[in-house]
């Protein structure tokens, strides 16, 4: 077991989230730019910043790093394919990866249920979809395991992996996740359900209805909000009148937690605590990871119309993938050679996935009317 504290003590956190404040305890702060300030919540708590290895084994930390790089590299490759006309539509999760990987590792991916949204490339990869699966979807091939080429890329799903298929409709996944969690509770499966969504989605009625039901029935689930400050062009200030989506949890009778989504290990511990609570039967948590979307909303969007590109540049400089890499270097768990080897393997995996998908057949047009009903 770790002898170091796995998280910073509370008073350190308070200071850590002051603008420009240095991290306490001489903990390695891989980020020269300092933490992004998090305003005081009304009712939610702020999850502590992580320190050092946060009590996790070296092997787990390396796996997390590998998952991060895999997601980022694949995401970048898909984006590039779109820009050169090889992929008609893509939606990216770049900037959200640390939050997603932190969350994925805190759940039991062999048993729990994931109800994702379109930004969750990293989360779904960590949950068991492969780069090959993703490429089949990007190129809309018949063998695309999530929809047979029927859905746009980014609409993840796999019954085998307990990833619930979703539509493009914002927020509809939330009440569905509530039902999944209710069933898990009634049937005693021991599963925890995690449902993800953006801060924009929290404005929909479905968000309220889902949280309310989950609170009443103390359901074993986690509402995981990936707050990237924009819903397409609409800034958070026009989306909610408070600073934190997590503050709303109080109105539903369960805890809200705000966490720095660039701090992978802080997210991991915050989600792990929520999982433990849910498994014990103590009900849901609304967890809000503060993240930033690096790309435009989708390949059809142009963010220059509504986002100051200096802001984008500043946030990109605090890249969660680089932050984690620096952390592991400081811990002596990674060096140039190891990093290069990991990147090389991942590049090969993505190359193979792309080639396989390119060679895979498109759907047979005659199948367009199959599977409308059972037996069809």
């Amino acid at each position: 077991m770790a002898t170091e504290p796995i998280v910073a003590p509370d008073h350190a956190i308070q200071r850590a989230f002051q603008p420009g404040a240095a991290l306490a305890n001489g903990a390695s702060d891989p980020d020269d730019l300092g933490p992004v300030p998090i305003a005081d919540p009304l009712t939610a708590t702020v999850a502590p910043a992580s320190i050092g290895d946060a009590g996790l084994p070296a092997e787990t930390l390396r796996q997390m790093y590998q998952a991060l790089v895999r997601a980022r590299s694949l995401d970048q490759r898909i984006w590039q394919m779109n820009r050169i006309g090889q992929a008609p539509f893509v939606v990216s999760g770049q900037g959200h990866e640390a939050a997603q990987i932190g969350a994925a590792f805190a759940l039991d991916r062999e048993r729990d249920v994931l109800v994702p949204y379109y930004r969750d490339l990293a989360l779904c990869l960590a949950w068991g979809l492969t780069p090959a699966d993703m490429m089949l979807s990007v190129l809309a091939r018949a063998a695309d395991p999530t929809s047979g080429g029927r859905q746009m890329p980014g609409h993840y799903g796999s019954s085998r992996l307990r990833i619930i298929s979703g539509s493009s409709v914002v927020a509809t996944q939330l009440p569905i996740a509530t039902g999944v969690a209710y069933a898990a509770k009634l049937r005693g499966t021991g599963q925890v359900t995690i449902v993800t969504f953006g801060e924009g989605a929290s404005s929909e009625g479905d968000f309220h209805e889902a949280c309310n039901f989950a609170g009443i029935h103390r359901l074993p689930m986690i509402f995981f909000c990936e707050n990237n400050q924009y819903a397409i062009s609409v800034p958070q200030s026009l989306q909610l009148a408070i600073d934190h989506v997590a503050d709303r949890a109080a109105g539903y009778g369960f805890p809200g937690v705000v966490v720095d989504g660039d701090d992978l290990l802080a997210v991991y511990h915050a989600v792990a605590a929520a999982v433990a609570q849910a498994r014990k039967g103590d009900g849901p948590t609304l967890l809000e990871a503060k993240v930033y979307r690096y790309t435009p909303h989708s390949s059809d969007d142009d963010d220059r119309a509504y986002r100051d590109q200096d802001e984008v540049k500043a946030r990109r400089a605090r890249d969660p993938v680089r932050l984690f890499e620096t952390r592991l270097r400081d811990l002596g768990l990674l060096d140039d050679e190891a990093i290069a080897a990991i990147q090389r393997d991942i590049n090969r995996e993505i190359d193979d996935a792309t080639e396989a998908a390119e060679a895979a057949p498109l759907p047979d047009p005659a199948t367009y009317d199959r599977h409308v009903y059972a037996g069809g």
Binding site: P88, F89, A140, R141, A142, S147, G148, G149, R150, Q151, M152, S167, S168, V169, V170, A171, G200, A201, S203, E204, G205, D206, A231, I232, S233, V234, P235, L238, Q239, L240, D300, D301, A305, Y306, L362, P363, D364, P365, A366, T367, Y368, D369, V372
Partner: protein, 349 residues
């Protein structure tokens, strides 16, 4: 006192001073120019919806409106469609003339209660004490690789809702005329914009304040042997098909663009059916209980004695929605090829 504003006949400032000049513009520019004109002409008009301000709409229909009209009249709303339409109804009840944008028709479902149970039924349930002069704009339609949730043509649901009006322009001129009519109408109007047409269709647009009355169809071309009745993007596909079939067979094909799905121009439909005796109804939407079904039933009931062939329908299959992968999308999407095949059968009948 709470009171809905009178829909005035006030002329919007025209983009062209003499009001006669017709300039060729894209479909999207026609909508944008008309919206700008009415915003300039009447400060009770407000626009609300997701991304309509800073982004100027995801299709850039309201580009630069925020700068010109300010954020009191161009409202970037939270991501909440029920809130958008409910607020629009309330604004209309207290003196404003709201134009609500639903980003894609596919995402209108959260607002269904507000549309069907509130906006559409307000006048009737209050015994004419209240009414609801709102315009709801929404891009719809497929063929743009938008997959299941950015391609839907679910207009029939609204046509099935008494109290609502539903219009679908197929030309830039009608985009302007119908929008002006919708804005002046005293009842809620759903104004549907085929997203594939935004930048692919051009045409002349009169600069004045002439409306295209709701409920009046447009004769696209005159013919004597068969009639195609359709609307939206399918007007253009039907025109291609008719041209090809005419050249091949010498048949003279009439095309009617409904423009208004509710109210429906029954007279134009029946006059043409009686004249040609052969009717093909085309819709991009799923076939069962579609607008094509309604038109076909009308012709069957009212023009049966004049028919030389059964009324035919070309429509999307009874499959949940447009698939993404190109071969599947093509199999699903109605186009000139499919219309031509049906038309040949009809002409030869």
């Amino acid at each position: 006192m709470v009171q809905a504003p009178e829909r005035t006949a006030s002329a919007p400032a025209t983009t062209d001073p003499d009001g006669r000049d017709e300039t060729s513009m894209t479909f999207v520019d026609a909508i944008q120019g008309t919206l700008r004109d009415v915003m300039r002409a009447d400060d009770r008009v407000v626009i609300l919806g997701e991304d309509v301000g800073r982004r100027g709409g995801v299709f850039r229909v309201t580009a630069d409106f925020l700068e010109e009209f300010g954020d009191d009249r161009v409202i970037d709303t939270p991501l909440a469609e029920s809130g958008i339409i409910g607020s629009a109804i309330g604004m209309a009840l207290n003196g404003l003339l709201p134009i609500a944008e639903i980003q894609f028709l596919d995402f209108i479902a959260p607002a269904m209660d507000q549309i069907m149970n509130e906006a559409a039924r307000l006048r009737y349930r209050s015994n004419n004490d209240f009414h609801c002069p709102i315009v709801i704009r929404a891009p719809f339609g497929g063929g743009v690789h938008g997959a299941l949730y950015h391609s839907q043509s679910i207009e029939a649901m609204f046509v099935h809702t008494p109290g609502l009006k539903v219009v679908v322009p197929a030309t830039p001129a009608d985009a302007r005329g119908l929008l002006l009519a919708a804005l002046r109408d005293e009842d809620p109007v759903l104004y549907l914009e085929h997203k594939k047409m935004y930048r692919s269709i051009r045409g002349p647009v009169p600069a004045g304040d002439e409306i295209v009355p709701l409920g009046v169809a447009r004769l696209v071309r005159e013919g004597t042997d068969a009639t195609i009745i359709t609307y939206g993007l399918m007007v253009h596909e039907a025109t291609l098909a008719a041209t090809a079939v005419s050249e091949e067979t010498g048949a003279s094909i009439e095309i009617i663009d409904l423009r208004s799905l509710k109210p429906l121009d029954e007279r134009a439909i029946l006059d043409s059916a009686r004249k040609t005796g052969k009717v093909l109804v085309v819709t991009e939407a799923n076939r069962p209980c579609s607008v094509a079904s309604e038109v076909a039933a009308l012709v069957g009931e009212e023009a049966f004695a004049y028919l030389d062939a059964p009324v035919m329908r070309v429509a999307a299959p009874d499959v949940p929605a447009m698939p993404f992968s190109p071969p599947l999308e093509q199999a699903f999407m109605v186009g000139a090829g499919q219309i031509g095949t049906a038309l040949r059968r009809l002409v030869a009948f």
